[in-house]
Symmetry: C2
Subunit: 464 residues, 2 copies
C-alpha cells in the first residue's frame, strides 16, 4: 500500500519502494543463482518463466544476468508482451509461450480457440520482425487441444511460419529507421514494454469489459511492430546521466499522476530543463494523453511551452476559447487517412500561435505539432492500437527525428501491411495483418519501387 492506494506499477514508485525492490532483487538473484548452479551441476539448463509476476527477477535489470539463467520463457499475447521478452538484455534463449492455454475456459464445445490465437498471432508476428525470437511454445492439457483438429492445423501453420522466420531472419534484427526512440516514464528500463494503459483505454472498449480486452489497446502496441530502435528511460536516468546523445525522439505517454506520465517528477526543474534543452537542440518530443502533467507554478503541462498547449484543469477557465483551425498544409496532415482513432479526447487547448492543429474533434485537440528551437514536438490526445494508428505513429516518429524525407528501404506506408529487411541475411519481408487481400508498395535496396499483393494473413519473404 502507498498513500491509501494499492501500490500498483501504474503508481510513481517512491524511493523507499525502489530501495525495497533492490533489496528483494539482490536476495532473489543470489538464491536463484544457487538453484541454477545446482541445475548446471546436474548437466541441465535452467529456464525462467516470466508469467504472472517476477518479483526479484526483473529480467531488464542488470543483476538478472547474475542468476545464470539459460532460457527466458515469456507469456505472450500481443506485440508489447513479445518485445518485453525479446528486448531484455543477455544471451538467454527467448521462448514465447502463446495464448490461449489449453484450458477448458477456451477449449470447450462451441468455442473456436483459433479466434483468440489468430488475433494474438497477427500482433505478435509484426513485433517479431524487429527483435529476434528463438522459440515458441504452448501450455496446458494436450488432450483438450486434441479435440480441436483445426486448431492443431492452425498451430502447424504458425510453426511453419515461425520456421521460415527463423531461417530468413537468421536470428538477427531488422534494419531500423529514423533515430533512436526513448520512452520516458518513472520506471525506465525496469518496466520496459510493460503495458502502460491510460484511463482512456480502461473506459474505452464497449460493450463487454474484460481486462484482457483492455490490454494492448495503447500506443506501445502501435510501437511494438514498427522498425525503430526503442529504449525505455526513467526520470532518475535523466537526473543522474542526462539524455544520451543517440536518442533522437522521446515519448512521454500516460495519464497525469501515473508512473507512465511521471507525476511529481515533472515538478523537478532539472527534468523540465533537460527536456527543453533536448528539444531546443534538435530532438523530437512526442506527448500522448497527459505528457509532462503536474500541477505546479501555474501550469499543468510543465512542457506546455514546448507543445504550445495547456490542459484545462479548471484553473484557467477565464481564457477565451480560440477557434480550432486545422493546418491542412502541415507535413503530418498529409499522413492522415481519416481512419485514425484518437480515443476519448481531453481538455487541451492551444497556447501558441505557431502550433499546428493536425486533427481535432470540435474544441478537443486530437493531434498537434510544433517546432521548438531546433527541435519538434507532437501531441496526441490518445493512440489506441489500430494498424492505421501504428502507421501514423511511424510517420510521427520519422517527422520528429527529421527523417521524414529520408528514403528507407522496405518500409511500409500501407496501414495493414508491415515490412522490413534484414541487413545481415539480405532478406526482406512483408506481412498482411488482415484476412483480406492487401497491397503495399516498398522501395528495395536498389531503390526500385515494388508493389506487392498479399493474400489474407500472408507473410512473404523476398531477397532484399
Amino acid at each position: 500500500m502507498d498513500a491509501g492506494y494499492y501500490n500498483g506499477t501504474y503508481k510513481v514508485p517512491s524511493q523507499r519502494y525502489r530501495d525495497w525492490m533492490a533489496f528483494i532483487q539482490k536476495f532473489v538473484a543470489d538464491f536463484a543463482g544457487e538453484l541454477v548452479e545446482m541445475a548446471h551441476a546436474a548437466g541441465k539448463k535452467a529456464a525462467m518463466f516470466q508469467g504472472d509476476h517476477w518479483i526479484g527477477t526483473e529480467p531488464f535489470l542488470p543483476c538478472y544476468q547474475d542468476i545464470g539463467i539459460d532460457i527466458n520463457v515469456g507469456a505472450v499475447e500481443d506485440g508489447v508482451a513479445l518485445r518485453r521478452l525479446t528486448d531484455s538484455a543477455g544471451d538467454q534463449i527467448k521462448e514465447a509461450r502463446f495464448y490461449p492455454y489449453f484450458f477448458p475456459d477456451v477449449f470447450r464445445e462451441g468455442n473456436n480457440p483459433v479466434t483468440e490465437s489468430m488475433a494474438n498471432w497477427v500482433k505478435i508476428r509484426r513485433a517479431m520482425l524487429h527483435k529476434p525470437l528463438d522459440r515458441i511454445g504452448y501450455g496446458g492439457y494436450l488432450s483438450l487441444a486434441n479435440k480441436f483438429p483445426h486448431f492443431i492445423d492452425h498451430v502447424t501453420q504458425i510453426s511453419d511460419e515461425f520456421g521460415t522466420y527463423r531461417q530468413h531472419s537468421a536470428g538477427t534484427e531488422s534494419a531500423k529507421i529514423g533515430g533512436k526512440v526513448a520512452v520516458l516514464n518513472a520506471w525506465g528500463l525496469a518496466r520496459s514494454w510493460l503495458q502502460n494503459q491510460a484511463q482512456d483505454q480502461r473506459f474505452y472498449v464497449p460493450p463487454r469489459p474484460d481486462v484482457m480486452e483492455f490490454v494492448g489497446n495503447n500506443p506501445l502496441e502501435c510501437l511494438a511492430g514498427l522498425p525503430f530502435d526503442v529504449e525505455f528511460i526513467s526520470f532518475e536516468d535523466i537526473l543522474e546521466n542526462g539524455i544520451a546523445d543517440d536518442i533522437k525522439v522521446i515519448i512521454n505517454t500516460g495519464d497525469a499522476n501515473s508512473a507512465w506520465s511521471g507525476g511529481e517528477y515533472w515538478g523537478n526543474p532539472k527534468v523540465v530543463t533537460a527536456l527543453r534543452e533536448f528539444v531546443g537542440k534538435g530532438g523530437g518530443l512526442l506527448g500522448i494523453c497527459d505528457p509532462s502533467a503536474h500541477l505546479q507554478n501555474g501550469r499543468f503541462f510543465q512542457l506546455g511551452d514546448v507543445f504550445g498547449l495547456e490542459k484545462e484543469t479548471s484553473l484557467t477557465m477565464g481564457r477565451v476559447a480560440q477557434p480550432v483551425k486545422l493546418d491542412g498544409d502541415h507535413y503530418l496532415a498529409s499522413c492522415l487517412t481519416g481512419e485514425e482513432d484518437f480515443g476519448n479526447l481531453s481538455y487541451v487547448y492551444s497556447q501558441a500561435h505557431d502550433m499546428s492543429v493536425i486533427a481535432a474533434q470540435g474544441q478537443h485537440l486530437a493531434m498537434t505539432a510544433r517546432e521548438y528551437g531546433n527541435g519538434r514536438s507532437v501531441y496526441l490526445g490518445n493512440l489506441p492500437f489500430t494498424m492505421t494508428n501504428a502507421r501514423l505513429l511511424q510517420h510521427i516518429l520519422l517527422w520528429l527525428s527529421k527523417s521524414e524525407n529520408e528514403q528507407y528501404a522496405w518500409v511500409s506506408d500501407a496501414a495493414w501491411v508491415d515490412a522490413c529487411y534484414y541487413p545481415d541475411s539480405s532478406k526482406a519481408t512483408v506481412v498482411n495483418y488482415t484476412p483480406e487481400v492487401q497491397q503495399v508498395t516498398v522501395t528495395d535496396l536498389s531503390g526500385e519501387k515494388q508493389t506487392i499483393t498479399l493474400e489474407g494473413y500472408e507473410w512473404r519473404w523476398l531477397d532484399a
Copy 2:
C-alpha cells in the same frame, strides 16, 4: 494572481483573498453610502448597475444593504443572470437590462437582432416565473434600434408579456415543490447564481467558440427555471453553522480544483462528516461532474461512499472493470426520454453493488442513483442546459427530497413547457419555450387534470 494563476472566481478563494474582499467591501459600501445619501438629499433615487463587475458592492452580501440603494439593475442574458438579480435580498426594485444592447455589432445590416433577443427571452421568462422581477429595460443607441422596425415590434411584444406577468403574478413568488435545494460551493451566498461552468461546457460547443455561447450551458441554467426554493451555501457556512434543517437537497456541481466543486475543502473531515450525516439522516445529495473531488487518503471522490462511485485518476488502474448494467426498473429510469444530454463523460466507475446505473455511454457512467442510510444520492456526468435536461433535473430533485410521489399543482412534466402557480394571486401560468405548438398536462388546485395546447412561444395565464 494566486499560485501562478489569474485569481478568477472559479478558483477556491483563500482566506487572504476573502479578507481582502471584506476590506474592500467595507470601504466601498461606506463611500457608496455617502453618494446615495447625497442623491436622496437631492430628492432622487439611486440605482446600482450590476454589469461587468461589482467589486466592493456584492449584492448578495449583507453590507450591500447598508449602502441604501433603491434600484438594482442587472444585465441579463439568461435565466441564471435573471436569478442573480431577482434572488438577492433587500427591498430594492429589480430591473433587468436585456441583451442585445443597441450597438453596431448586433444592429447592423444583414443581422437580425431579434434572434439573440428571442433566444435570451425564452430562457429569462422561465426563470422570471419563480422570483418576482419589477422592471425591464434596454441600453444603447435608440437610433440604431429604430432602423429595425420588426425589433421594435418584438420589444413591444416582450413588454406586453411582461405587463401581463406583472399583473397576474402581482410581484409574488410561484409555489415551490419538493424541499429547499442548497447549492454548495466555496463561495456560497456571495456568488449566488454565478455561472459556474465546468471544463466540459468550455470545450463543448462546436464549431464557432464564442465566450457568450458557453455562458449558461450548465446545470444552474436548468435549475433557474424550476419551481424549487434555492439557496447557495459555502463550506465555511457548514464549518461554522452546520447544515440548516430546512435544506432537503444539496447540489455540488463543478470540476475538481474549482471553487464550484470545492477543491481542498473536501479534504476537511468536518465537511465530509457533515455531508455524510446530512444524507444518512434523510437528505438528498446531487453530484455533477466532480462532486467532492480532492485527492487524499486514497480517494478522489471524498463522498464516493455516498455516491457508490470513484473517479479513475490513474491511481486505481488495477481494478477489474465491471460490466455496466442499466437499472431500468429504477424510478429515475422512468423519467428519461432518451433526449438527455450528459455532455462529455468522465472516468467514473462503480464502487458499490447497490448503486443503480440510470444512464451510461459504454463504460462511462452518465447518471447513477443510490440510497445511503435514510437518504439518497444521484450522480450526473454533466448537465448542459437543455429543456429535456431541466425537466430531468426537476425529477431528480423531487426524488432526492423523497417527494417524487407528491401531487403538486401546476407542475409540468413536458420537456418544452414550464408551468407554475401563484398562491397569493390565485393565478397559474404555462409557457412554451419553443416556436412549435406544444402540449402539457397539469393538475390544477382542485386536483383535475388539464391538457393545454400552446402556440409557438405562447405564454398563457389561467385561474389556478
